[in-house]
Symmetry: C2
Subunit: 191 residues, 2 copies
């Protein structure tokens, strides 16, 4: 941020009176430009048949992580709920018809100023179709899942929790809710 | 938003190519200024003694809802996790020492572009002290709670769920996780 979005005056990075953090502040009109984390919301679209659980993934057609696989997800928009966002992103990226269930995971990613939410969902039919942000859309079981080519750690963590919970659910347990923090990997001490 | 924060040129409200929403776009440098919902995160600080469950509330010293009671909560900051935010806000607004437990509620408030999260917490001592954003800090049981003077519907909903869960917890059940959408009240049809 270089200029005030209200008056076009250059902003300065400073700690406002009564605050304890650096903010972009306009010395002309006095506006403080707060910057806050964004929500990324998505779904875990599940197709369950003959005891074979498959999850729908999208291969990314855009950066970051072009070519890698992800659950359908994206930035939540103003005026929508988290469930609205999960449904919308699943339609936009995978053209998939889903029924949404409970929130399954919440993953903090503080170094990129994001919180990721994933809802469990049932895939209602197999008429999915890659949207413009996806190269392809496909379904995977736990064993066919492209574990080494998943785009984001929050998706890997969510999928691992999902398949672990599925084993318990088959024995009568309910699904859990999984909250995790994904911290920036530390460099090895010898580097 | 009136001016581009990157180049100070006036922005226009338009739907960028490949998008389907109005955004503030700079015709000079091409930057699209996305605006997204913010997270408000707080705690339910509980003092439990002799079967008497009290919850700590703060009376707001600032607008909006000056003079009304709220759980300690505020806007999540970049570089922190949701749990960090709940702890920080509880210290800032109530000077309270707490131990944080699981996420208890997630409330969408789409008409103000917010998602509110509340964590259950144990108050570790009674050395709390109103911060500069609070007029006073006090503990209430379910029956002494100032129900008509609660600042925000997300706080009322969270407190109602909390006391309802407490009755089940005393009989051995676990706490639930409560997700709700608080929609803007519709005007009566006759108005």
């Amino acid at each position: 941020m270089k200029f005030c979005s209200e008056c076009a005056h250059p902003v300065a990075l400073m700690t406002p009176p009564g605050d304890n953090r650096l903010r972009y502040v306009c010395s002309q009109c006095g506006v403080i430009h707060y910057q806050n984390p964004k929500l990324v919301v998505g779904a875990i679209p599940v197709w369950d048949q003959d005891g074979d659980t498959q999850v729908l993934l999208c291969r990314r057609a855009i950066e970051p992580r072009l070519g890698y696989w992800t659950l359908p997800a994206g930035f939540m928009e103003n005026e929508e709920t988290t469930a609205d966002a999960a449904l919308r992103e699943t339609v936009e990226e995978a053209g998939a018809n889903i029924q949404l269930h409970d929130l399954f995971s919440m993953m903090n990613v503080p170094h990129v100023h994001q919180v990721h939410l994933f809802y469990r969902a049932t895939l209602l039919d197999l008429n999915y179709l890659a949207g413009i942000e996806s190269l392809e859309v496909a379904m995977f079981t736990e064993s066919t899942m492209p574990w080494k080519d998943i785009a984001f750690p929050t998706v890997t963590e969510t999928l691992k929790h999902f398949f672990a919970d599925m084993r318990k659910v088959r024995e009568g347990a309910p699904f859990g809710f999984h909250a995790r923090d994904i911290m920036k990997p530390m460099r090895a001490a010898t580097e």
